[in-house]
Amino acid sequence: MTDATMSSITAPPPPMASRRSPFGSVFIHAALIAASFAMLYPLLWMVSASVRPEDEIFSSTTLWPSSVDLSSYVRGWFGLDVSFGRFSWNSLVIAGLTVIGNVTACSLAAYAFARLRFAGRNFWFAMMLGTMMIPYHVTLIPQYVLFLDLGWVNTILPLVVPKFLASDAFFIFLMVQFFRGIPRELDEAAMMDGCGPWRIYWKIMLPLSLPVLATAAIFSFIWTWDDFFGPLIYLNDMNTYTIQLGLRTFVDSSSTSDWGGLFAMSTLSLVPVFFFFLFFQRLLIEGIATTGMKR
């Protein structure tokens, strides 16, 4: 047996980079750094433009402002009839309620699919998967008519109530996958001790599922915060606008006149998402890697 095969048996397989020349590794880093910079450049430029003096925004392609001037933030904040404080609050309420709705309703359904035995379970599970495939445009118009008849247009109800009915089937699927990985012995032991399904759900499944619940909560928040289509359809009164609708109104009304204010408010609207990215990156990336999420 040669030394090469011996070492590959006794030692863990070397990372592929170690077999590459140092030149190759430098080249890869150079390419990756250049790509990272190109990717981030527009974002950094926008943040930098938001703190620039107004007359400097378009004259400069550099990222470092000559002086920091926060007046764009003040102008932007009060740039419309209703302030961005109101829009942010509206967004926060909708996103917060969506998180609660998704986590409770989807975990209930997921527990039923993953653990309980009942007639028709496989049928309903297939139906649930089916709803994930259907584009929402199909249900859009009758839903609108329904909410219009209920007098819910211009309220947050059409955006929030469906979440309490587990309308984001994707999260059910995500949780079912996770619940199935929890050892069944735990439920069985609890059942022997006389626990019913509710207590098992509450005392065993949920506490053991915090990672998946957190992933669902964070993605719910980000997607709702960024959602444009739903608010565009259901919210027509400026007092009810979300931050995304506020930005859209800003871009249409001021068009080219106040880019500083627009960039300031755009930057601000990205802050919560960036916060989650910074602190919960691992959960987000694992969520995507294991389920193949679209975003």
């Binding site: 039923a112 139906m127 259907i134 249900t139 008519v145």
Partner: protein, 318 residues
């Protein structure tokens, strides 16, 4: 005696059937009821917000409906008009197909390329991965669409950069030949999430395969074509289907960049944007419902086609 006894037993049995039936009901309830209790919110949503509306929308697609007067049955007139006499439908379909065909392959190619570079065990993998993923996370927001509108404007950042090397760029977003490309670039910029899925897929490929191959003297290129690519085809297939469906449904960037018009000259009139205009701009709810069902048909046909052809190129390990 025996007969009497039998009948007594029969009577006794008959008297017992009621509690027995109740017992059975209770047993059915304990066996199946809990499941349905947990499923109740979803079931209400399924019937009230998905199945009911889907059936209603199929009905509405055969009517003329403006939200004020009740729907009026028009037969297949909506579909006939879509197929034969609606230039905007044709335009939006063309724009959407163009967008799908341009954005998905570029996005997946970038995602795969970067994933392969990162999988070489480079130092700082998590930092690079995070940086490349960030645009995917932020990209769906209005803020990024607003930024894009500035970047590719006549006096925008891209043209300022081009001016520094002596090129005078056009106003990309207001030129009908280029506007779709700004949206394609925006989509490709968000290659982060397919990249993460590719990375996860690459990690599944056992390293001893590469070791065996290099012992046999296979070059890096040959290893890529003979090992990496075939074993990654299920992931490529998955990403391609998901990204294509997403591309068909894209809305926000085209809406913001064109100011809701789909212009210039319908060059960014995504299918979903046209549907929105018909439903909530012109209040042709019946017509828009027909458009929605055609979208379902297109996505369904595409998905079926993908699955049918997949067995000729997707390598499933068994």
């Amino acid at each position: 005696m025996a007969a009497v006894q039998d009948s007594a037993i029969a009577v006794g049995a008959g008297a017992k059937t009621r509690p027995a039936a109740q017992g059975r009901l209770a047993a059915i309830w304990t066996k199946h009821g809990a499941g349905y209790m947990f499923l109740l919110p979803w079931l209400v949503g399924f019937f009230g917000l998905t199945l009911g509306p889907a059936v209603a929308s199929l009905y509405l697609s055969f009517t003329s409906f403006d939200l004020i007067r009740s729907p009026e049955w028009v037969g297949a007139a909506n579909y006939v008009r879509i197929a034969t006499a609606d230039p905007k439908f044709a335009a939006s379909l063309k724009v959407t197909f163009l967008y799908v065909v341009l954005s998905v392959p570029f996005k997946l190619a970038f995602a795969l390329l970067v994933a392969i570079l990162l999988d070489r065990g480079v130092k700082g993998l998590t930092i690079y991965r995070a940086i490349f993923y960030l645009p995917s996370l932020l990209g769906g927001s209005v803020a990024i669409a607003v930024l894009w509108r500035q970047l590719f404007a006549g006096d925008g950042l891209i043209n300022s950069l081009l001016a520094q090397i002596g090129i005078e760029g056009p106003s990309w977003i207001s030129h009908p030949d280029y506007s779709i490309w700004t949206l394609v670039v925006l989509s490709v910029w968000q290659f982060g999430s397919p990249m993460i899925i590719f990375l996860a897929g690459l990690r599944q490929i056992p390293t001893d395969m590469y070791e065996a191959a290099s012992l046999d003297g296979a070059s890096k290129f040959r290893q890529f074509y003979k090992i990496t690519l075939p074993l990654l085809t299920p992931v490529i297939f998955f990403n391609a289907v998901v990204q294509t469906i997403e591309a068909f449904k894209a809305f926000t960037p085209a809406f913001i960049i064109s100011g809701g018009t789909g212009g210039p000259i319908n060059s960014t009139l995504f299918y979903t944007l046209y549907l929105y205009q018909e439903a909530f701009g012109n209040f042709r709810m019946g017509y828009a419902s027909a458009l929605a069902w055609i979208l379902v048909l297109i996505i369904g046909l595409f998905t079926a086609f993908s699955f049918l052809t997949s067995r000729y190129w997707v390598h499933y390990d068994d």
